[in-house]
Symmetry: C2
Subunit: 477 residues, 2 copies
């Protein structure tokens, strides 16, 4: 079974190169799977590391066992399930503790909401149009939306939005609205944009132009201008990164707008701001350029499970009401009174967000943002002191560093990697103590990797600039 | 504020006709919103009922209050939040009790899983490709997927799938894969298909042909054939309803396949089965035609929060691995190793599904399906006895009936309506007692509506056929 499965997968799938994305590093697919005799847990034997798209690999899974007729009597089934769950919980605790690579705030306390878990809460359709289904949480959702609209300075009667399932849904929605407003528009996005932007272009059959980036990860407006001038006849739909995934680089919104206007696109552009992580942090950073609807932007999305922290992925999407009208005037399009992408929507997520926003408020977030930036600087300084290549963008809490040589270390700390670099995203749950643990371990492991002339740390000047690189060639003595 | 808000909305939005959909009836948008002085809860004054797409109406919302500096001391904020939640919980209990119109099984018990609520569980990307983010539940997800693949008779090494956020995501995925397999394909769907199918066509810029239906709600294969013959040169991507939303009609899969083959489409069609509700019920009904991958179908989606029951919307999408390979061979498309639509995915939903599938097993579901069908027949028979027009399709637990005259009654029982008809979906949590309560109330209210020659019940023969209609004209004496 295991053998034929592996062969089957081999024949079926072409191997493809990994690409920059959300971004789980480019590893850890185990082409062999063994099925245990018990049939309950399948574990994998890891033989090689490579990515094969579309391969169906059962690395490890808790098989569903058909209950025996006498299970109720013997309690065997209940026992099996309880033991699986207990084991799983233990691993979650450990994995939550050793986590640095993903921009998720794992520090939340929603005990007061556990009373709601046994309701099937569903906000189907538009948040602003009542449904006959009564078990919803629109009253919380709209409260959360109002809060974000205020944060980004759009009047209550001028915005439309909803709570999405994740950052990707926000991007898919923003780009779709852009396309509906400008059906012939070309999508422009920097090459360090989140992969969902390119996914959208393909899904929606849109022309798409990739724009270069600076070493910081920001969009290169000189390249942007060149590309705009090549396509002057078609309107521009632009994705602006309020924090790129890998380097936490914030695109210069003002310069993007200026570039569009001086290239003759005034009144013929749509700007979507992908604020996955920093969309919520930037408003609380004093020197940060403002993301605001007082500028000619059209939609902003942000993730709810990132800076806010939430047990499940979710996001907030805010757009100008007039854009939605453009969209919904086309009734055939919607075939419904629903301008969301999904029909049924998780009604618990809005309550989680509402709860945290209420508890922390603007001031609470401000404090947390400051703490994150402070801790990120601490980490970056300590890395450089230790002779480890590292970069930290000014408005960011994402510390980019040399990719640790050993994948075991990467996995242990759940770092996200791309090519020769890795990053640590300093979120509110990442304390100085945790960073010290990480640093000490890293220094220790590096002695093993690079001590006694065994080898040399990689040069990552191409990724983070020569000034930040501590390789043999670039290190300042 | 309230007035200018309403005016603003008026100017901005064009009024549009409601259309058949997910389907909240065509009512209840209150164009006026009053903001209470306290600023904490906004409630609406209902003045008219109409749908205006894209209007941003704050019917009622729990505003987020910025904490006062001394809130921590006075406990005022905590008190406010606790009181909101307590009130909300009470309303959820009441609304859960009086619920008949949506196909959600509200009867579940996940107490054993509440220990997991404080983890940020996220299955980012492909379920079969490990991520470095360790707080995931892929091991449960793959177990659930295996179970469904077995149910629909597709080998482990031949399927690909994932747990979606809802039925709509499954449909969006199925249609997208179809389009990638046949880029020039035309989408065919019966006019009683879920609106997400038409949404997909528009999103993906696909040509789309609407096919007529029989009185039962099933696709009309004679019309299908006519339309196929008009478009012989392009491949066909077909949506087959395994239970339509409104009438619970099951399209005849075998006849659809036969129609495709005799019209010369052999090897040039892709079939997506939208099994939102019945996809999970049909396998347990003895006489039901089988949904199986042994037939030339390509993808099946089903909702997890419907028959199974789950606190939040979710769904299961299963497709042939070879289709995903077709898709993923186009690397530029994915720009990632991710063939899902969403990037981050709720990791709690798979655990809920895993838990219920393990507890109930095939036999458990079989019993529940039988109970639902029995209770649906009971309801239909009692309605007819009482002289109320009603229809029940053979393989369905969706009872279609005359739309109650009073919207208060409709809202009280959370019925889903369309035109002159309403429906009750008999789910496992709908007992005979609840149906009796409903019937008795309906009969009572009808006396008020139609007694003493005040008025007459509507004729709904056009919707459910003359045999099922009990209006003055069609009633058998």
């Amino acid at each position: 079974m295991a053998a034929s499965f592996a062969n089957g997968a081999m024949n079926r799938s072409g191997k493809v190169e990994p690409l920059p994305e959300e971004f789980d590093p480019k590893e850890i697919v185990s082409p062999m799977a063994l099925e245990s005799d018990a049939g309950a847990v399948e574990e994998c034997v890891e033989t090689r590391r490579e990515i094969v798209l579309g391969r169906n690999v059962h690395t490890m899974c808790y098989t569903i066992k058909e209950p025996e007729v006498d299970d109720d009597v013997t309690g065997e089934r209940e026992g099996y399930m309880a033991s699986v769950l207990a084991r799983y919980r233990k691993s979650l605790i450990e994995r939550t503790k050793h986590h640095l690579g993903y921009p998720y705030n794992l520090d939340f306390e929603y005990g007061a909401l556990s009373q709601l878990q046994h309701f099937s809460i569903n906000n189907l359709g538009d948040p602003f149009i009542e449904s006959n289904y009564g078990v919803h949480s629109r009253q919380f959702e709209v409260g959360v939306l109002d809060w974000f609209a205020r944060l980004w300075e759009l009047e209550k009667n001028e915005y439309w939005g909803y709570i999405t399932n994740c950052g990707t849904e926000g991007n898919l929605h923003g780009i779709l609205v852009g396309r509906e407003v400008f059906p012939e528009g070309i999508l422009y996005a920097s090459r360090e944009s989140h992969y969902s932007i390119y996914k959208a272009a393909r899904m929606y059959r849109m022309e798409c132009v990739k724009v270069g980036t600076l070493i910081s990860g920001e969009i290169d407006c000189a390249d942007f201008e060149r590309k705009l001038l090549l396509n002057k006849e078609k309107p521009a739909i632009v994705n602006v990164n309020i924090g790129t995934t890998v380097k936490g680089a914030v695109d210069d919104l003002d310069m993007v707008i200026e570039t569009l206007e001086k290239s003759g696109f005034r009144g013929r552009f749509y700007i979507h701001c992908d604020g996955a992580l920093f969309g919520l942090m930037m408003p609380f950073v004093k020197r940060a350029p403002k993301v605001t609807f007082k500028k000619p932007i059209d939609s902003v999305s942000v993730s709810g499970h990132k800076f806010v922290g939430c047990p499940m992925p979710c996001g907030v999407q805010i757009t100008r009401l007039k854009n939605i009208n453009a969209l919904s005037s086309n009734v055939e399009y919607l075939a419904s009174r629903d301008a969301t992408i999904m029909g049924s929507r998780n009604g618990h997520a809005p309550i989680f967000l509402w709860y945290t926003l209420n508890r922390k408020g603007y001031r609470g977030f401000q404090k947390e943002v400051q703490k994150c930036l402070r801790n990120a600087h601490y980490l970056k300084d300590r890395l450089i002191e230790a002779g480890i290549s590292a970069m930290l963008n000014e408005l960011s809490s994402t510390v980019v560093l040399e990719r640790p040589k050993d994948e075991e270390f990467v996995r242990r700390w759940q770092l996200a990697c791309e090519g020769n670099i890795a990053h640590v995203v300093v979120m509110p749950n990442v304390t100085i103590d945790k960073l010290d643990d990480f640093l000490n371990e890293l220094v220790q492991w590096r002695t093993r990797w690079y001590g006694d002339g065994v080898g040399e740390p990689p040069c990552i000047a191409a990724d983070i600039g020569p000034d930040n690189c501590c390789c043999a060639e670039h290190k300042k003595s």
